[in-house]
């Protein structure tokens, strides 16, 4: 574990270091860096370290490592080209469109989609601003025109006071509205759904919503303050907003928000499963029916061994096989050498058959007088 931690720390330092270099480069040696946002900057650097650290630790677990490797093998193979259409479709429909969450319920899908796109919009605006990658400057001689500068390069102009500038300068307001709508829907479900109420945990399920709510409300209060209240309590509100954002950034790698970075793995898994399906099916050693792709079963068997599970069926030797062959003229399981080669329905049947076999043995001498399981 110590070795894994060291490796994860190295990965974290490299990623945070790369981000720091990009901040220096993107802000043109900090020329365009806004010193007032330095707290946010260090919070993002820590978040980058934490996310990379946790990601690296996660990928060192045997099952994660196996799927990571298999996903990339498919992505860099010729099969990836054949599956590029399905990959894009999955990315658009499932990741961008949240179809799989809408399948769980319309309001759940609406809540997640609203929160997700609100956060993406907010991140797309604030992170480049915090890192000094983007800033606005007045055009010389045209005081009503703003120029957008990205990485030190001019990237478009727009009129101050126009609809476009109104939409751009209030981008975080629109993001907050989206997030708040989603948070309200999510809170509603968590309050009225008995199942969710029973299984939810404060740190994992409630705190993220509280944080998103706090960020959105304190952020909108800033706009309210400078728009309608002549900047009343602006300094206090700015600090309050910074506290909520920085706390969220620091907590980003450890809580529910980590799924933002982990979840795209589903695309690689889907591609691998599609590819594995084409490669052939594993047939159950008991019922002889196909039940899963052979490659997935093989990989899972490897993972189980790496984890220390011993599902090898070496104990079922010739004696067992001879016994079981009697009366049937065949031995259906003679070739099963690992429990992973048995399909889930047969496992369930075996569970019942093993128990009834015990009862048969126990009541054999007195079958006529007592029955199994009877009180």
């Amino acid at each position: 574990m110590a070795h894994e931690r060291v490796r994860a720390i190295v990965v974290g330092v490299i990623v945070a270091g790369c981000l720091a270099v990009l901040i220096v480069l993107g802000s043109r040696s900090l020329t365009h860096f806004d010193a007032a946002l330095v707290g946010y900057t260090f919070a993002t650097l820590f978040a980058a370290f934490g996310i990379a650290y946790r990601y690296a630790m996660w990928l060192q677990r045997p099952p994660s490592r196996m799927y990571w490797r298999r996903g990339w093998q498919v992505l860099v193979s010729s099969a990836a080209l054949q599956r590029i259409a399905s990959g894009i479709r999955r990315a658009v429909v499932d990741v961008a469109g949240n179809r799989f969450i809408f399948q769980r319920g319309f309001l759940r899908g609406a809540a997640h989609m609203s929160i997700m796109w609100g956060c993406i919009l907010a991140a797309a605006i604030t992170f480049p601003l915090v890192w000094g990658w983007i800033h606005f400057e007045t055009m010389p001689g045209h005081l009503n025109t703003y120029r957008t500068v990205v990485f030190g390069f001019p990237a478009g102009e727009f009129q101050i006071g126009g609809i476009l500038s109104f939409l751009i300068f209030h981008g975080l307001v629109w993001a907050s509205i989206l997030v708040l709508a989603g948070v309200m829907l999510a809170f509603r479900r968590r309050m009225i759904d008995h199942g969710a109420a029973a299984t939810q945990q404060f740190g994992e399920d409630v705190l993220p919503l509280v944080l998103l709510c706090a960020i959105s409300i304190t952020g909108m209060m800033l706009t309210v303050s400078y728009t309608w209240m002549r900047g009343y309590a602006y300094g206090f509100l700015a600090i309050l907003h910074a506290i909520t954002v920085i706390f969220t950034l620091l907590w980003l790698p450890f809580g529910k928000f980590f799924h933002i970075f982990q979840r795209p793995a589903q695309l690689g898994v889907a591609l691998y499963k599609e590819e594995a399906e084409q490669a052939g099916q594993a047939k159950c050693k008991r019922c002889k029916k196909p039940y899963a792709s052979a490659a997935v079963v093989r990989d899972l068997t490897t993972v189980e061994r790496e984890l220390g599970f011993r599902y090898e069926m070496t104990a079922l030797g010739p004696k067992s096989a001879d016994k079981e062959g009697k009366g049937t003229g065949k031995n259906r399981s003679s070739r099963a050498d690992h429990y992973q080669q048995i399909c889930p329905p047969c496992r369930r049947a075996l569970f019942g058959l093993a128990q009834s076999a015990l009862w048969s043995q126990a009541i054999e001498p007195e079958r006529e007088t007592r029955e199994p399981g009877a009180a």
């Binding site: 099952p63 990571w68 799989f100 969450i101 399948q103 769980r104 759904d193 199942g195 029973a198 299984t199 994992e204 529910k256 982990q262 979840r263 793995a265 589903q266 898994v269 499963k273 899963a292 997935v296 079963v297 899972l300 189980e304 599970f309 011993r310 599902y311 090898e312 069926m313 104990a315 079922l316 079981e324 049937t328 259906r332 399981s333 099963a336 690992h338 429990y339 992973q340 889930p344 329905p345 047969c346 496992r347 369930r348 049947a349 075996l350 569970f351 019942g352 058959l353 093993a354 128990q355 009834s356 076999a357 015990l358 048969s360 126990a362 029955e371 199994p372 399981g373 009877a374 009180a375």
Partner: protein, 219 residues
């Protein structure tokens, strides 16, 4: 909230009459609305009517959780292995293939694994899981160890199972003969070539003087 430690689940597949009540009741559970997580498996549909009710056995070291690449399956402090955490599950299906009891189910449309969580909304407040509430033959029983031992004088619970070379210990018990020599565990893979046996079953479900099996457990 947590499932009280003195309340346990006892499964006795030999008492199952295949009535499907558990399946219908399971789908009423609030933690997986409309979907039945219990499996009512036929031991060998072609030759027998023997059925096997299979719920999550809530392993102490859950194989499903260990092989999950997304670390989405968690075991709470009360020993209940919860369904996959929705934000994390990436629908790889490892858990479905790895579970030695064949319990988890993958819902491809939702990209989500779901499984029996012992009706956590009910059991965590001391109520019986839905299936145990309706099972007419008490093949599925939820209560105290004292209760089950008193109403099943010929049976005893065990929570150890063998699958090949692997031994699994679970929170849920299965009833085995109390008669000596008492089995130390249930060797599932030893039944690889077993066939359903013809038997006569008499279930002493309704018998005055016994504890009411349908009463809610007091905690």
């Amino acid at each position: 909230m947590a499932v009280p430690g003195h309340l346990e689940f006892f499964v006795d597949p030999s008492r199952c009459i295949g009535c499907q009540s558990c399946v219908q009741a399971c789908s009423e559970c609030d933690t997986h609305h409309g979907e039945a997580m219990i499996h009512l498996e036929y031991a060998d549909r072609a030759t027998s009517i023997q059925t096997v009710p299979v719920i999550c056995m809530h392993c102490e070291q859950p194989t499903c959780a260990e092989v999950c690449p997304a670390d989405a399956i968690k075991r709470t402090s009360d020993g209940v292995v919860q369904s996959a955490r929705k934000p994390r599950c990436i629908a790889c299906g490892n858990c479905v293939l790895a579970c030695p009891f064949g319990v988890p189910e993958l819902y491809n449309d939702q990209l989500l694994m779901m499984k029996c969580d012992m009706c956590y909304d009910r059991s965590s407040v001391g109520k019986k899981p839905m299936c145990a509430t309706v099972c007419p033959s008490q093949a599925l029983f939820f209560g105290t160890r004292e209760e089950i031992l008193s109403i099943r004088p010929q049976s005893m619970p065990t929570n150890r199972f063998r699958f090949g070379d692997q031994t699994i210990t679970t929170r849920v018990n299965v009833m085995v003969p109390r008669k000596k020599p008492r089995p130390l565990l249930l060797d599932v893979t030893s039944a690889m070539n077993e066939r359903p046996q013809n038997r006569t079953l008499r279930l002493g479900v309704v018998d005055q003087g016994e504890p009411d099996p349908f009463a809610e457990v007091k905690i």
